[in-house]
């Protein structure tokens, strides 16, 4: 597989459409016609791994093979995985630290009995964002004695294995502030996230389009879904946003990537202007029953 030179099988226009539609049906991700070369380049590696000679065979593999669901997950992983690292797009994380978490602490801290903070990193890839959020929560010192849970999901199982292992190479720490480095421990294979932080984090295999299955996440206070919605078609995006709305408790926050917005999606979210960021929020006066399954 060459970066610059065309080699190996070509993705014909009809194969592109068949593969594109199959992937879209599976997980809502959509590819414009000009993405054909992207699919060709990235899926060539899968053809090589499966010893297939053309994309027609790959399509039939995805249709009929007993491992087809696992393979389509791998295809999606190849096509969508963005490089991720600790404290990526940190301005938003500082908004979480400085304004969102204190507000939640203030609002929920007054309650009697068990107090709980739940955050969902939707499309967490190899887990750096999940651990980053957990470090920020722990570092804030606001939630001692609370039940704190940070849940990360991804459609690709392979990345979840990496996430659970929590050992990362140097490039994952390129933006890591020194003040958070004490949450890492050295191992012979690389730096690993501290067991105390890992204990706060949970991972699961979840297709965001399967709205009903998202109920396993429970009711959450904050959802971070950054640089994920850009891959979806508008209908799937609406469905996913609806799922997020259902999963958020009253007053819960939705944080999207810097290039993403709900501008063209009809939603019930309200826009909140924070000092460093614009975020979406489920209205606080939302019905009380939304809290019932906490």
């Amino acid at each position: 597989v060459s970066v610059l030179f065309d080699s190996g099988p070509r993705l014909r226009i009809e194969e592109f459409r068949l593969l594109r539609d199959l992937i879209n049906k599976f997980c809502g991700i959509s590819f414009a016609p000009e993405s054909r070369f992207v699919l060709e380049r990235r899926l060539k590696d899968r053809l090589e791994a499966l010893d297939l000679s053309d994309f027609g065979q790959y399509y039939q593999y995805l249709r009929y093979h007993p491992q087809r669901f696992a393979e389509i997950e791998r295809a999606v992983e190849c096509l969508t995985t963005n490089e991720t690292y600790f404290f990526r797009e940190d301005y938003q994380l500082w908004a979480l630290r400085d304004q969102i978490l204190p507000e939640i602490h203030e609002r929920k801290g007054k309650r009697e009995g068990r107090r709980r903070l739940s955050v969902w990193s939707a499309g967490c890839s190899t887990g750096e964002e999940v651990y980053t959020i957990a470090m920020i929560i722990e570092g804030s010192g606001l939630f001692e004695g609370w039940d704190v849970r940070v849940f990360g999901n991804d459609i690709a199982r392979n990345v979840l294995q990496t996430a659970r292992r929590a050992i990362y190479g140097p490039s994952s720490f390129r933006a890591m502030p020194r003040s958070y480095e004490h949450y890492l421990v050295e191992t012979p294979e690389g730096r690993q996230v501290h067991p105390r932080i890992r204990a706060m984090c949970h991972f699961g295999h979840l297709n965001l389009l399967e709205g009903q299955r998202a109920a396993i996440v429970g009711r959450v206070d904050v959802i971070l879904c950054r640089n994920v919605l850009i891959y979806f078609d508008s209908e799937s995006r609406s469905n996913v946003i609806e799922t997020f709305y259902e999963r958020l408790g009253a007053g819960g926050y939705l944080l999207l990537g810097h290039s993403e917005s709900l501008l063209n999606t009809s939603t019930s979210f309200e826009l909140v202007h924070l000092d460093r960021d614009l975020v979406y929020r489920r209205a606080t006066e939302a019905s009380a029953e939304t809290e019932s399954d906490e």
């Binding site: 970066v3 610059l4 070369f37 039939q60 249709r63 140097p170 390129r174 690389g190």
Partner: protein, 679 residues
């Protein structure tokens, strides 16, 4: 709910009560319903108006509300009512355009622009002449509304009307027209655009439009715009330069000649745009930077390449820079982290390897690749292994085997490929390290493949061990290696794998038995393959079906027919292909039956078999595929009918072309009609 209750509800101060009152009008048939819904369209609350608009559109099926809606559009008091009425008319669609056009002459002058806006929502060809006329009016507001409406409707006729306004005296009308043409993606001839580029107000939109001209003549004007002080203008010019170079590859040379004149200031802007622009702008800025051989922007360009695949136009620009870009790329590699580091190394290796004369003497790149192979980031190791395919020497054989054995899988494959290339240059070194390697673990499959390419007893012994390895991928690689070796001994080894616990290994074994021949050159394992047709695993059944086709075994025909009728789609597909290959004498009858198979892949295979079978009714049978609900079946049918030719095929193709809506099928129909020749 009675009409009285609805009426009361619509006057309630509570928005939710009013909204529910509107919802109660859903499906109402009484004569008062239209009046009530029109009243609700003028509600002060948008949520009430939204529901009312939907219900008004439904009610219009039984009660014509067009006159009332027209009045609501042209009135000047209630803006909410006007917007809601326009929305309802939009929902009613082109069927009401004639009545709106007629009303243009009767409504008050101040209301005409709103009616024109409504025509834009309604759409349809009937609206276009009136809009084109309105676009030429003396009333600037009416012209602006007409131009916007034309852009909403789009199409060739709208584009003609908009182009006509590019010469308008008022600069804002020219801008609105040009913006409208931009919105519909119209292609405007270069000659018409060139004078507009100099107009400060129109410049950005004109530059964007130049990107659609598909002519290299636009390159100098766009290059000049890169010197504009506004980064937005530079971005538009860069994106258009990319579009032209993508559509007209020769334009790359024109731009390359121009790119060396780009000023330092413009280069800095381009560097920022590669990092921060939208994707078309980033690509355009990267293209210009590469053609200008701008080392200062190379870091940003590599970062873009790490996030996005390198499109062919950008790849061409890299290749044009060639080997001279290798030292700066290696610097970028040293300074980057993560995927960018890997991509820079891989690009450097590919560009260095493109120069055959010097690659075997390039110690700098070789050293970088060797270091990369030991890097803690897997992506860098993979890039290094890929590069070593061209640069490895005998000394690297051990390193590459170690990398392959350690994995992960992608690195193992890349290292395996590098070893294969190295074997051509240093066979003894590679054989020496392979003789000691254990065939299992992450690199087992890649290394087994390499061992299988060697001959001799030692390789056979290693493969016999590999066929029992823990990793099923290694076992499959061993099976495939035995196919290459061939002969009775290899067939014996493979036969046992039909009982493997892995479905994939069983399927690989079945496939291999179809390929293998004994020492006398005869097929082997036919009895086992016939038995395998009854496997409970569809993948194994399908592999056995295809394998039996390779053996030419006629006893397979009967069970394959059954599998075509009753098997799961993947099995039916393989059975169909096998029956074609075995030249089943009764295939014709089966084909007609199989044309109705629920799975489109099977139907495509059936169509191919019909085209192969010949006969008087071939064209009419293929034509059945033209009305299949799946676009890919229709496309395949069109392609096959084009190959068959003749009046019947031509007639069927032409008939389908009349109604076909799918662009890919339509394209295939046109090509097929051309292939069949004139009627």
């Amino acid at each position: 709910v009675t009409p009285e209750e609805i009426r009361t509800g619509l006057s309630d101060p509570d928005v939710e009560v009013r909204r529910r009152a509107v919802l109660a009008l859903d499906g109402a048939t009484d004569d008062e319903a239209p009046r009530l819904v029109l009243e609700a369209l003028g509600d002060t609350e948008w949520r009430v108006r939204k529901e009312a608009a939907r219900i008004a559109a439904q009610l219009s099926r039984t009660h014509s509300l067009v006159d009332e809606l027209t009045s609501a559009v042209s009135q000047g008091e209630n803006i909410g009512l006007r917007s809601a009425a326009i929305e309802v008319l939009g929902l009613l669609g082109p069927g009401v355009a004639d009545r709106l056009v007629a009303a243009l002459d009767t409504v008050p002058e101040a209301g005409r622009k709103f009616l024109v806006a409504a025509l834009g929502e309604v759409g349809g060809d009937a609206a276009l002449p009136a809009l084109a006329a309105a676009a030429k009016s003396d009333d600037v507001n009416l012209v602006a509304a007409a131009v916007d409406a034309l852009a909403r409707i789009g199409g060739d006729a709208a584009a003609v009307a908009l182009r006509d306004r590019l010469a308008a005296g008022d600069a804002f009308i020219r801008l609105a027209a040009l913006d409208g043409l931009d919105r519909i993606g119209a292609i405007i001839p270069y000659e018409e655009l060139e004078p507009l580029v100099g107009d400060r107000l129109l410049r950005r939109v004109a530059l964007r439009a130049l990107g659609r001209t598909k002519t290299r003549r636009a390159v100098p004007a766009l290059r000049e715009a890169l010197e504009d002080p506004s980064p937005h203008v530079v971005g538009s010019a860069a994106a258009s330069l990319y579009a032209i170079c993508r559509d007209v590859p020769e334009a790359v040379e024109t731009l390359a000649a121009e790119a060396s004149h780009v000023s330092t200031g413009a280069r800095e802007t381009l560097g920022r745009l590669v990092r921060e622009g939208d994707l078309p702008t980033r690509r355009g800025a990267a293209l210009v930077s590469l053609l200008a051989q701008d080392e200062a922007n190379l870091h940003e360009v590599v970062a873009l390449a790490a996030q996005e695949e390198v499109p062919p136009t950008i790849a061409h620009a890299f290749r044009r820079w060639g080997r001279a870009s290798v030292p700066p790329l290696l610097s970028v590699h040293e300074e980057s982290v993560g995927v960018g580091q890997a991509v820079a190394l891989e690009l450097a290796a590919e560009l260095a390897a493109d120069d055959d004369d010097s690659r075997l003497h390039d110690d700098v790149i070789r050293s970088a690749l060797r270091r990369g192979l030991r890097h803690p980031e897997s992506s860098v190791c993979v890039a290094a292994a890929r590069g070593l395919a061209s640069f490895a020497t005998a000394d690297d054989a051990g390193r590459l085997v170690a990398a392959a054995a350690a994995g992960p899988e992608q690195l193992a494959r890349a290292a395996g490929k590098a070893l294969r290339s190295l074997r051509e240059r240093a066979p003894e070194a590679v054989e020496a390290v392979l003789s000691k390697v254990e065939l299992d673990g992450p690199g087992g499959a890649a290394l087994t493949q390499l061992v299988g390419e060697a001959s001799g007893e030692r390789a056979f012994t290693k493969l016999s061990a590999a066929i029992s390895a823990d990793d099923p991928r290694t076992r499959i690689a061993a099976i495939n290696a035995f196919v290459r070796i061939g002969g009775s001994r290899a067939a014996e080894q493979v036969g046992l794998a039909l009982a493997d616990e892995s479905v994939d290994v069983q399927a690989a074994a079945a496939h291999a038995l179809g390929e293998l021949r004994n020492d006398a050159g005869d097929p082997v394992g036919i009895e086992e393959l016939l038995l395998t047709l009854t496997s409970t695993e569809p993948t194994v059944q399908a592999a056995a079906a295809r394998a039996l086709a390779s053996t030419g075994e006629e006893r397979a025909i009967e069970p394959l027919r059954d599998l075509l009728r009753e098997g799961r789609p993947g099995v039916a597909l393989a059975s169909m292909a096998a029956l074609r290959s075995l030249s089943d004498p009764s295939l014709g009858d089966l084909l007609v039956e199989a044309l109705g198979h629920q799975d489109e892949e099977v139907v495509k295979e059936v169509l191919a078999a019909i085209a192969e079978s010949g006969g008087a009714r071939m064209a009419s049978r293929l034509a059945v595929g033209l009305s299949h609900p799946a676009w890919d079946v229709r496309r395949r049918a069109a392609e096959l009918l084009g190959g068959v030719g003749g009046p019947a095929a031509r007639e069927a193709l032409a008939e389908r072309q009349e109604i076909e809506e799918d662009d890919l099928v339509s394209e295939a129909l046109s090509a097929a009609l051309e292939e069949t020749g004139p009627a």
